[in-house]
Symmetry: C2
Subunit: 315 residues, 2 copies
């Protein structure tokens, strides 16, 4: 691998001139610049990032802390990582994955954190490097997220337009901020239409939603739609209705939230609030790198979700 020195010798200039051609090209005459470019090309020169990092006292590492249990989780995070990695690679940063099992925070230039619980706030606040949260929070930490409230608000609207006259919300039984926002979107839409909200909450497992349906099947009138806080729950609801002999989408509607994977595998495909996780991941990375290079980026980045049409709502 060619070094600065090799290029310098070949171009008959000093190392600094080469370094300047790269970092401050306006301080070098065109003549020398050409020589240097030529030499760089001939030697296929690539700067040594490690050496650069050493002088800058940086690590070129970003830690991605996924604090939720990954084992049972949707491909959601995979997409997130792909998005983040894409940006980081572009700027020649690399990634370290931190999980609760694997809890090493140190030796990095910044953090992206997701799935935090309240008790994590302590150590997070102590971090002395730039950080950005993935997922809304109410602790004043900068974050990137979907506009959760708008997602369910829009979806509920769509469901009403499709003529279902009974809207039930199936939520995730958790105190996280995103859940409150999703509930709020549903509630607002329903109230604007002079209807009474009806909410149920479960752990995020399809079979719980399925059981809910089968156990309450007698009480569930046709023309009801279920607005679910996740595709997983939606899948359970869908399966429950099918099992009880209900007809989707004619008599019952179902909608999900995420649009990463499950909504596609379900049958019929779930009409869902689609988050473009890859894009959000990229933005997240971009944002963090800006902070690291103190281009003063701060505040939140909210993405408007889109509705992805499947076969669980009638036309």
């Amino acid at each position: 691998m060619a070094t600065l020195m090799d290029v310098a010798k070949r171009a008959n200039v000093s190392k600094m001139t080469v370094s300047r051609v790269i970092n401050h090209p306006d301080m070098v005459t065109n003549e020398l610049k050409q020589l240097v470019y030529q030499a760089m090309k001939e030697l296929d020169y690539r700067p040594n990032l490690i050496a650069k990092a050493l002088v800058n006292n940086s690590t070129r590492i970003v830690k991605l802390c996924i604090l939720e249990d990954i084992d049972t989780t949707e491909p959601y995070y995979m997409n997130l990582m792909v998005g983040i990695a894409k940006t980081l690679d572009l700027h020649q940063y690399s990634l370290q994955l931190v999980t609760r099992r694997n809890f090493d925070i140190g030796n990095c230039d910044g953090y992206i954190i997701t799935g935090m619980r309240k008790e994590d706030l302590d150590w997070i606040k102590k971090l002395d490097k730039p950080l950005i949260m993935f997922g809304e929070n109410r602790y004043g930490l900068d974050y990137v997220d979907t506009n959760n409230k708008a997602g369910t608000y829009k979806m509920a609207k769509l469901v009403l337009e499709r003529g279902y006259d009974h809207l039930v919300y199936i939520g995730i039984d958790s105190k996280e901020s995103f859940e409150y926002s999703r509930e709020a979107g549903y509630i607002q839409q329903v109230q604007e239409n002079q209807m009474i909200p009806e909410l149920y909450r479960f752990d995020n497992h399809s079979h719980l939603a399925e059981e809910f349906i089968t156990e309450h099947w007698k009480e569930i009138e046709p023309n009801t739609a279920f607005i679910c806080a996740s595709d997983r729950l939606a899948m359970g609801i869908e399966r429950g209705i099918s099992r009880c002999g209900g007809s989707i989408p004619d008599d019952y509607g179902v909608t999900g939230f995420d649009g990463v994977f499950l909504s596609q595998v379900a049958s019929p495909k779930i009409t869902t609030v689609k988050q473009s996780i890859i894009e959000m991941g990229s933005a997240c990375g971009e944002n963090l790198l800006d902070k690291i290079n103190s281009k003063m980026s701060q505040g939140n980045l909210i993405f408007e979700p889109k509705i992805s049409i499947g076969g669980t709502l009638r036309d």
Copy 2:
């Protein structure tokens, strides 16, 4: 952040002594070692990995090349990454994710590659750093994988024991090595029982398997079991049978392969050949790091799969 120098001053020794305490502790007297340890503790010293990397002319970066399309993929790769990342972090390496969109190979100490196609062989052979493939291959590249053949072989055996007398294999329509191996396992088991193999192949999408069932329902006799090459296909088969009014597991059996996520979400849960991807990822990382430090590890690492019992086979 404290440096070697700081520790050295505090302990009243030279930098080299401190360095030796860390890397060649047997060359330093106990007395000095204690002093140095003390100083390190007081200053909370952590070696600067970047500086270390510079002298070793290494990057401490491993590239994970996922050459398959990730967008539509199961959480499989997420688990893989978690496994790899776990090991790498332990050894203070970090990860860069390479995809086809994002194709930067360079500046790293080694590669883990998965999802390669035949045409990738060219550039892969040219890589001048240690590499290990995730997933079996027949190009002589070292790999880590499940014992695919044993997986379907065992599964077919189990299915026979459970009394199904007609075994159909539902494969993935691809020329990859793992698929051939899975087919081979099924075929061998079936032939050992004087039965005639019956194989179908589809792209790895649940709805294709589902359609297959609904379209051929008349021809499918009760007491048939479907050995599928993936959980996705199994899910489709399962749904197709349910839709046609068939009873699982009483009249029909279904088995999958992977056990990462879908098998859990399906209903009933799929009896599947479970791969412990996280473990395999760790092993993969470990193996690569050994190669990097030229502890001469080479050859393949084959994991014996386990059968994970769901509700798609009768007792």
